[in-house]
């Protein structure tokens, strides 16, 4: 399987494991879209925003003495975006509708982020 295929199937598996999730994507640390499974919206733009958030989060962790960043999130009244570092090169973002089992979501997503990190090398 090609790298792209492996990343795509990681996202597809994540979505079947979390049916309430509205989408997920993988971007490079500099904001280029690598793979996506999102139902609506401009995924290129989302990829850039996710990288901005992760990049800032990394520096916040440094500045606040919180070690190296593992994840960050943004919440609104209609849902959340969870952003996971995936190695030094990538980032996984998951768009969640309000509600749902956040504990399960984190469990699945952290495992997926580790897989993405491994694939990206």
């Amino acid at each position: 399987m090609s790298l792209a295929d492996r990343l795509q199937s990681t996202l597809n598996e994540l979505r079947s494991a979390l049916p309430d999730v509205r989408g997920c994507l993988i971007a490079s640390a500099d904001g280029m879209l690598i793979a996506q499974n999102v139902s609506s919206g401009d995924s290129n733009r989302m990829a850039a925003m996710v990288a901005t958030s992760l990049g800032l989060g990394k520096r916040m962790c440094e500045a606040f003495g919180s070690g190296s960043l593992s994840e960050t999130s943004v919440s609104g009244d209609a849902g959340q975006v969870f952003i996971y570092g995936a190695g030094s090169k990538g980032v996984l973002a998951v768009i969640n509708a309000a509600g749902g089992n956040i504990g399960l979501l984190h469990l699945e997503c952290r495992a997926a982020a580790r897989k993405v990190a491994e694939i990206l090398g």
Binding site: S28, A29, D30, G31, M32, N44, R45, A47, A48, M49, A51, T52, S53, L54, G55, L56, K58, R59, A63, S88, K89
Partner: protein, 181 residues
């Protein structure tokens, strides 16, 4: 007499020297958010969120906010421009291909916040560069709006900022304090 810090935004296309400019001038540890560039952009790293640095100049505390240069991060322009007193638009003299993007950034920011600006022309020491007059023509600006600056040269960077502050505070510091007194 205390003055509120002045916020200055440093923007411009990829590789113009925004991060370098802020690193050169800041007297406090800069917040920089550079990441490995996936594409070939003539350097290894590229800014994904912002650069932030501070310094004191002309009796003012200046907060420098740098934007990313890649267009996909254009949503950061309006975020970073809120409350800004002035704008430095950096353009690389040897990259005419980026001038249109630079003009787009300038128009976007000044339409959001009509603030004084200066065009900082970097990389004038490189080969096959555009002259200041030619660049001024391209932007439809008087050549007095442009200044050549090497983003690695501290005194040149400070001079540039000084010139911008003159535009931000045309009445000067004393006048202003009298007005607000």
């Amino acid at each position: 007499m205390d003055f509120a810090p002045l916020k200055v935004v440093v923007s411009g296309p990829v590789g113009a020297g925004k991060s370098t400019y802020i690193r050169t001038l800041s007297t406090t540890t800069v917040v920089e958010t550079d990441e490995m560039a996936t594409e070939c952009i003539g350097k290894d790293l590229t800014t994904v969120a912002l650069d932030f640095g501070t310094l004191h100049i002309d009796g003012f505390e200046v907060l420098l906010f740098g934007t990313p240069g890649q267009e996909r991060f254009d949503f950061m322009w309006s975020v970073l421009c809120e409350g800004a007193a002035g704008l430095l638009l950096l353009v690389a003299a040897h990259r005419p291909g980026s001038f249109l993007k630079a003009r787009h950034i300038l128009e976007f920011i000044t339409s959001q916040v009509p603030i004084p600006f200066l065009l900082a022309v970097t990389h004038t020491d490189q080969e096959r560069v555009w002259e200041l007059e030619e660049i001024a023509d391209f932007f439809g600006l008087p050549v007095t709006d442009l200044l050549a600056v090497d983003a690695r040269d501290r005194s040149a960077c400070a001079r540039m900022l000084h010139r911008l502050l003159e535009r931000c505070l045309p009445t000067g510091r004393d006048e202003q304090s009298r007005v607000t007194a």
